[in-house]
Symmetry: C2
Subunit: 343 residues, 2 copies
Amino acid sequence: MEKPTIADVAKYAGVSITTVSRVINNNYPVKEETRQKVEEAIKELNFKPNYLARSLIGKSTHTIGVIVPSITNLFFPVVVKGIEKVCSQKAFSLFLCDTDGKEESERIQMQNLLEKQVDGVLVIDPRYENIENGFYEECAKKIPLVLINGYHRGIRCNFVLNDQEMGALQALEYLIKLGHRDIAFLRAKNSYSYDIKEQIYYETLQKHQIPIKEENILVIESGNGLETVELAIQAVQKRLEQKEIPTAIFACNDWMGVGVMQAAKKMGIAIPKDLSVIGYDNIVISEISEPKLTTVDQNMYSLGKASAKLLLDIIKHPTQGFQKIILDTNLIVRDSCTSPKNK
Amino acid sequence: MEKPTIADVAKYAGVSITTVSRVINNNYPVKEETRQKVEEAIKELNFKPNYLARSLIGKSTHTIGVIVPSITNLFFPVVVKGIEKVCSQKAFSLFLCDTDGKEESERIQMQNLLEKQVDGVLVIDPRYENIENGFYEECAKKIPLVLINGYHRGIRCNFVLNDQEMGALQALEYLIKLGHRDIAFLRAKNSYSYDIKEQIYYETLQKHQIPIKEENILVIESGNGLETVELAIQAVQKRLEQKEIPTAIFACNDWMGVGVMQAAKKMGIAIPKDLSVIGYDNIVISEISEPKLTTVDQNMYSLGKASAKLLLDIIKHPTQGFQKIILDTNLIVRDSCTSPKNK
DNA sequence: TTGAAAGCGCTAACAT
DNA sequence: ATGTTAGCGCTTTCAA
């Protein structure tokens, strides 16, 4: 038989469809004997309730949407995995939407998800513009929504964030504690996340009364992906050709960190002996680099799990107000930093 | 108003819901004047048709399922991205299911997807057991299904594959052409994909009348992920401690390739001068290793696109028979191979 | 060119 | 403890 329905089961078991429904949902008393008959019929016909029909009635689709800038990026998949883990435990399915980092695409995907009647939406690394211009604030009125690793003050929405200030601080304090007083800073353009780190860089150096040198601020064009390594190599090489070179470099992410190491290698500068390097993110490449890159772990997996938990919680208890959850970061000490030689 | 329905639109425009439906679907003649009124009403009320209701009637959910062993693996995301690209163009949504590589989980996820009424399913790297035991053959009878990078002779199902035989051949022939006659082979246990490559290894060496040495077959426990690097280092180090060491190593994937390079480095063996290494997969780490790893590109993005195209095609034209599509591979020559010193 | 009404598969009052 | 029935929001005959 072509896909049995609840009516087929009812007929087969000799009961009404209501009774079958009750057995399936186990939400009203049914006589044991009847239940047995129905369960047998279900098994016999290999009946599976139709989600669409169920959802149409208005409860829930048991589905959430996940919007991601790019699934091929090295750390978003880890966040997604955390989300998946939590969701599959609660029998929620995941719509995956990839925006290629485009502002407009983000809005379109959001629209699609709303039309597909998802129960909630998770946005990883949302575009700053869409937060700031109130787009997500509007969305949050219509549907349970959690923004991951994006924030703007005053926007009424749920946020789950890594504590990037603390992460940057951990990295910098570590270098300073090792004795470094000539620390370069490597970032890419146009990113809130790098802005934060740069801010912390200034503050921390000032706090320790370390003079800030203009030539120690290195800015490259693009920050995430393979091309970043090449760009970082060029920028760092240029810096290392100068007379006075820093004893350490804080790179805003691990791609850049790897770039720093390769630049140093090309110029015969030993890491960490002649130059300490610290990265950020703890993506997989930091662990297979030579030497292994010291970095700051954002704990992307936990981030995903925490976000998904929050979302499912909101879906279940829609009344509550907005939350902003800030997660810890960890310094991962590996082999790319040491004390400077001649201090 | 809370989510307007087609009835609200009809009332607002002063027509029947049937007419509204016709305007939305544009499938029956409607007087221009009426159409205008309806369209205005739709815009005014910001009406969006409810997918669930539409789908319930039985056409299509415009949704496909993607089952993946692990989204944090370095190359599955690329396949998923290819799939996403094609699907979003055709306004199909993607359910993402991560199985953690477990045989049973694969079956459960498949079941879930069927219940969610997806229009079709894509399985990346399906477990061999589930192909062989006929599970997927059964599924293929119920729903459009395409298996990506998994195969078993005689199973009636759609397959899209990379030509791993050709890829292995390209790698080996390249090494041999460079003059290598003492080539080690590094693989992990229990994988069809490594079995194929080992087979080709034997055949190709034989073809070139190169004697096969037992000590040149290196097998490690687990093949995919960070731990693989460490395992490969150990295995290779052990091999390189012997008196006669090979002039080249063919690693079954790039993780292993990186492991080989690190092992060599630890032992003061220069790559490629003293030892050539070739990997497989062309994942991102092959490009940031030092030196850059020569490898075989499986073109995962194209693989994803081709698979999605095939699936959507089958969904549209369900009558056709099963297909087996085999995609090309490319040798990516970088810096980890050269001719052996003393031949 | 338009509308009334049946029905997709299910749940949940309301009866009994 | 069980059944009857009215929808959920939409598409699609069938009739006008």
